[in-house]
Amino acid sequence: MLQALADGILTGSIIALGAIGLTLTMGILRFANFAHAELITWGAYMALGVLAITGVFAGPIGPFSFGLPLILATLIAAVLTAALALVVDYLVFRPLRSHTNHMTVVFSSFGVSLLVRMVILLIFGGSAEYYSDELQIAVRLMPGLRVMPDHLFTLGLTLVIVIALHFFLQRTRLGLSMRALAENPDLVRINGIDTRTVVRWTWIIGAALAAVAGVLYGMTVQLRPEIGFQLLLPLFAAAILGGVGNVFGAVVGGLIVGLAESFSVLFIPAGYKMAVPFIILLAVLYVRPSGLFGGMRGGAK
C-alpha cells in the first residue's frame, strides 16, 4: 500500500511535469499537440547524447546516481528541445494554423510525433538506455517503504519547478500575457501585446519542462524511443482532468493519474495499467468535461 503510494507520487510528478507543458500549449496555442510527448523523449535522448559526446558520465553527488554532468546535460537538452519545438512550430504548425479546419494542426502534430520518434530510433537505436550504471541503494524511510534517493530528488525538483512556474505566471509580465492569451486572444492583441513572442515563450517553457520530465523519467525508469508514446495518454488525461490551461490542475491531475496507475495494479492485472488513464479520461469527459478546477476556458465549445 505504502509502496504503491510512493510509486504513484513519483510517476505522478513526472506526468505532472509533462502535463504542465501540454496544458499550457493546449490552453494558449489552442490545439491538442500529439507531438508534445515526443518532446519528452527527445529531451531525454538529447541529454543522453550530450553525455555520450562529452564522455563525462562519472561523478555522482552524494547518494544520487547522477552528478553535475547530467545536470548540465539536462540544461543543454532543454535548450535543444525548445529548439525542436520552435522549428516544428515554424515549419509545420504555423503554416497550418490559418487552415479553416483547426483540426488540421492537431493532425499534423500526429504526423510530427511519428517523425520525431522514428528519428530518435534511427539515431539511438531501439534498445533500453540508462544515464548511469551506478547502483543505487534504496533508503528505508519507514517500515514497508523504500525509496531511491533519485526518486526523492525527482519529487523535490517537481515541487520547486511548480512553485517557480506559479510565481512566473502570477507575477511576471510575460506570465500574465500568457494567461491573458489563453483567456482572450483578441483582447490581448488589442492591448498591443506581441502574441508571437508569447507563443514562442510558451513553446520554450513547455519544451524545457518536457526535457526535464524526460530526463527524470529516464533516470527513474529507463530510456526507450517509445516512452513519449506511452506517456501521451497519461499526459492528456492529467491535463484534461485538471482543466485545460490550468497549471495547478495539471499537477494535481498528474498526481491523480500516477496514483491511479500504481494503485490499479492492486486490483487488476498489471498488463492493463496503461488503460487506466483512458478510463479516467472517459470519466472526466462524461461527468465534468471542464476538468476538476475548470480550465482557463471550459471544455465545452
Binding site: M26, F31, A32, F34, V92, P95, L96, H99, T100, N101, H102, M103, T104, V106, F107, S108, F110, G111, V112, L114, L115, M118, V119, L121, L122, G125, G126, F229, L232, L233, F236, A237, I240, P269, G271, Y272, M274, A275, P277, F278, L281, L282, L285, Y286, P289, G299, A300, K301
Partner: protein, 314 residues
C-alpha cells in the same frame, strides 16, 4: 510469372481491405472533419470480433463459437459500432480535440485487451485456425485468393457506391455544411452533434467490416497485425489520395500500400542485416513525411475533394 500474379492478387486483397478502412476514415475526416487517432482500434475490434465468433471451439478459450463468416463479420461490426459510441457519446458535444484524444486512448486500450485477455484473444500468440469462408470449395490457394479478391472488391464497391449515394443525399450535404460552418448549420435547426456522431459511428463500423474481411483472408489474428503504425498508414492513404474524395481514398490505399511494401522489399534486399531495424524506421519516416508534406504542400492530395457549388450558380 505466376508467382508475380499470385503476389499481385495477395497485395490487392490487402490494399482493397485497407481501402474500406480509408473510406470509413474519409467519412469521418474528409466529409465531417472528425479526427480519429485510433483507426487501428476499430479495425482490430472487427477482426477480433469476427475471429472469436467464427473460430473453432477450444477448451482454453471463451470464444470459438464456430458461427458462419457473415454472422461473425456483422458481430465484429456491431462491436466496432459500440466502441465508437462509447467515445463518440463522451466527446462529440465537446471540442473536437477530445474525440481525437479519446480515439487514441481506446486504440491503446484495445491493444492492451488483445495482448492481455488471453482467454478471449489468445494473448500475444493470437487466435489461429480461423476458418476462411468457402475455402473447401476451391481446389487451390491461388483460385481461392482470386475468389477472395473478388469478394473484397465487391464489398469495397458496395461501400463506395453506398457512401457516394449517402454523400449526395441531404444527409451528405449536411455533413459538409457542419464541417464548413457549424453555427450556420445549427441556426438552420440542424443538430451538429447528432450528425457528427452518426458519421463517426458509421465510419468506425466500416473499419470493423474491413477487420472482419482481413481475418477471413489471413485466417488468424494476433496483436502484431494491429500495431499503432497502421493508424498512420491509413491516414497517409487518405491524405495522399485526397481526403473528401472516395476515389482518392481507394487510389491512396493502393498507392501507399504499394509504396510501403516496395520500400520494405527494398530495405530487406539492399540493407545489410545489422541495419534492418534502422531500415524499418526509414520506412515509417516515409509515412510520416508523406502525411506532413502532403498537408503542407498539397492539402488536396492526388485527387482531392471536388469543388461543389449550388447548381443554381453556373
Amino acid at each position: 510469372m505466376s508467382g508475380y500474379i499470385a503476389y499481385l492478387v495477395f497485395f490487392l486483397i490487402v490494399a482493397l481491405t485497407y481501402s474500406i478502412v480509408v473510406m470509413g476514415l474519409n467519412l469521418q475526416w474528409g466529409f465531417t472533419g472528425l479526427f480519429n487517432a485510433g483507426v487501428v482500434g476499430f479495425f482490430a475490434i472487427g477482426a477480433y470480433g469476427t475471429a472469436v465468433l467464427t473460430g473453432p471451439d477450444r477448451a482454453e478459450l471463451i470464444g470459438g463459437f464456430g458461427l458462419p463468416f457473415p454472422v461473425g463479420v456483422i458481430g465484429g461490426m456491431i462491436l466496432s459500432t459500440l466502441a465508437a459510441l462509447v467515445v463518440g457519446l463522451a466527446t462529440l458535444r465537446l471540442r473536437e480535440e477530445y474525440l481525437a484524444i479519446s480515439t487514441f486512448g481506446i486504440a491503446i486500450s484495445i491493444q492492451l485487451v488483445a495482448l492481455n485477455f488471453d482467454t478471449l484473444t489468445g494473448g500475444a500468440q493470437g487466435l489461429t485456425g480461423i476458418p476462411r469462408p468457402l475455402f473447401a470449395t476451391f481446389g487451390s490457394p491461388g483460385a481461392y485468393n482470386l475468389f477472395y479478391l473478388g469478394l473484397v472488391a465487391t464489398v469495397a464497391a458496395v461501400v463506395y457506391f453506398g457512401l457516394q449515394a449517402a454523400l449526395h443525399s441531404p444527409w451528405g450535404r449536411l455533413l459538409k455544411a457542419i464541417r464548413e460552418d457549424e453555427t450556420a448549420a445549427a441556426s438552420l435547426g440542424k443538430n451538429p452533434a447528432m450528425v457528427r456522431l452518426q458519421a463517426f459511428v458509421l465510419g468506425s463500423t466500416l473499419m470493423g467490416l474491413a477487420g472482419g474481411l482481413y481475418v477471413g483472408f489471413i485466417g488468424y489474428v494476433s496483436p502484431m497485425d494491429f500495431l499503432p503504425i497502421l493508424t498512420f498508414q491509413i491516414w497517409a492513404m487518405l491524405i495522399v489520395g485526397g481526403s473528401g474524395n472516395n476515389r482518392g481514398a481507394i487510389v491512396g490505399a493502393v498507392g501507399v500500400w504499394a509504396l510501403w511494401t516496395m520500400s520494405g522489399f527494398a530495405i530487406s534486399r539492399l540493407l545489410p542485416v545489422e541495419y534492418q531495424s534502422q531500415g524499418g524506421a526509414i520506412q515509417v519516416i516515409i509515412i510520416g513525411l508523406l502525411i506532413v508534406l502532403t498537408l503542407l504542400f498539397r492539402p488536396r492530395g492526388l485527387i482531392g475533394e471536388a469543388q461543389s457549388v449550388s447548381r443554381h450558380v453556373s
